[in-house]
């Protein structure tokens, strides 16, 4: 049980973080880190473990975000009550898009997911009923606690942390189970995996369903916190790409990779933003792009690879 100690410490650190970061600004960044970690971890199940590089996960994120805000604008419900609808829509999309698309290999799969997500983004942008290009707004002022509209980022931070913890527990469970082995086998070679009895399509679909569900939940939480979504922020190509980048940066196909990636990239984005005075100049993204390029060039396996390098050095020294 020695291995549990760092985990407990990490958990305590996560819980106690807001007490160290007094400023609202930092607390907000912390909440955004956890939120990004949720969607990147969800993406990781399909893109990382199974090696099926989806660049269209925005369609699931957007389902969640739109589900939440449509529940408010159409039914007058608290946004979070729309999350189940958003998740249901995402699961439906996962089946409809996933089943035919999983027959495609490599880059073709990525391209098809991009096209599917773009198609949905453009369609929503042209559809007045769901807000069109202008998007949807949440409640301007909280009507009750159920609206989950808080001034302080802290409640959001803790809600997100709870969801992330559940997702990481599920991922860790999958990692050690038959599903996890099957997913990695598919990444290693689908034909060989099938010859060993791995039902490839069913396995990928199972991973995609979990992935889509949590990505949609992340989308709903985003909409609840920000109180706004439009085709760009909910369904845009960059939403998908950010999940890929965060997971790949931290280490795709590893449990902690997406969290490491989010904890690196989001603060980086925020700091450069602050440094260059808002995102208006584009300098933020110059730095952002440069760092992504550098990491792909020197650490192709992501930041998690650093840890493995250190560990194997240590093992060498011990031997």
């Amino acid at each position: 049980m020695k291995t549990r100690v760092p985990l407990v410490l990490l958990g305590l650190a996560a819980l106690g973080l807001p007490f160290v970061l007094h400023e609202v600004y930092y607390q907000r960044v912390a909440a955004l880190v956890v939120l990004a970690a949720i969607s990147a971890s969800a993406w990781n199940l399909v893109g990382g473990y199974a090696g099926q590089v989806s660049v269209g996960h925005a369609m699931f994120f957007g389902s969640g975000a739109y589900g939440a805000l449509l529940a408010y604008t159409v039914l007058g419900w608290p946004p979070i009550a729309g999350a189940p609808f958003g998740i249901a829509a995402a699961l439906l999309l996962a089946v409809v898009v996933g089943l035919p698309t999983f027959r495609l290999q490599g880059h073709y799969f990525s391209m098809a997911t991009i096209a599917a997500a773009e198609l949905i983004a453009i369609a929503v942008g042209n559809w007045k009923l769901v807000g069109g290009a202008a998007g949807l707004m949440g409640p301007a002022a909280p009507r009750s606690i159920a609206d989950l509209s808080f001034r302080s980022p802290l409640p959001y931070y803790y809600i997100f942390l709870l969801v992330l913890t559940i997702l990481l527990l599920i991922t860790a469970r999958i990692e050690r189970s038959r599903l996890g082995f099957y997913l990695r086998a598919i990444r290693g070679g689908e034909r060989a995996a099938r010859s060993l009895g791995v039902p490839a399509v069913r396995t990928k679909l199972a991973a995609l369903l979990v992935s889509a569900g949590f990505t949609a939940l992340a989308g709903s939480l985003y909409a609840v916190m920000i109180g706004f979504v439009d085709p760009e922020s909910g369904l845009g190509l960059l939403v998908s790409v950010q999940m890929v980048i965060i997971a790949a940066l931290g280490g795709a196909g590893t449990l902690w990779g997406p969290l490491i990636g989010a904890a690196t990239l989001i603060p980086l984005e925020e700091t450069t933003n602050a440094f260059f005075g808002g995102s208006g100049t584009g300098a933020t993204f110059v730095v952002y792009g440069a760092i992504i390029v550098l990491i792909s060039r020197f650490l192709p396996g992501g930041i998690a690879e650093l840890w493995q390098l250190v560990r194997s050095r240590r093992r060498l020294r011990a031997a």
Partner: protein
Amino acid sequence: MLLEASGIVKQFGSLRAVDGACLAIDRGEVVGLIGPNGAGKSTFFNCLAGEVRPEAGRIIYKGADITALSPEAHARRGIARTWQVPAVFAEMPVRDNVMVGAFLRHHHAPAARRKAEEVIAFTGLAQQAGAPAGSLGTLGRKRLEIARALATEPELVLLDEALAGLNPTETAAAIELVRSIHAAGITLVIVEHVMAVILSLAQRAVVFHQGKVIAAGPPAAVIEDEAVIEAYLGARFRRRSA
């Protein structure tokens, strides 16, 4: 009769790779498929494994028609295979590679791990069990392919050139391994180029030529067969003139 394939036809574009081939395999046999390059034995082999779906013909396995079933359904029914070019899961440790196979019959990780350890010991991979499969040499990869296949607890194992690319010492070791698999009661179909391997392993050799079975019988007798010599020599002659 464990498996019976009859009238198998497979066409690739204008090329009829398999043209009405038939084969029956008894439980406990070791059958060698031989023939010159392009004779259709690999395509026929892939039909048996469910990797390629024939256009005509039927494959009956233990009384059931499996012709149109997927590769994974073949595995479930007890037919396992290896690949000509080893297709190990390079990033996964050797043990985890074998566990993927073991999960077919053992749904929980501890049971699958026990089964994997057993097969790893049997195939002589215990030393490398923790290493990534990508770090293995050719012999190691071939062993791992066999181990993965055995972990699915098959009754019939299809070996696709499992001994190609090995040096003489390694070949001897691999032949020993195949013998012990047979001794464990598993039926084997071997596609092989090296005639010496067929002579020392197979009880029956089946010769393919132009998509058809042209001879079958004890290996030593088959290689004396007129039609077989003709097929090999003819092929060689054609290749030289090309």
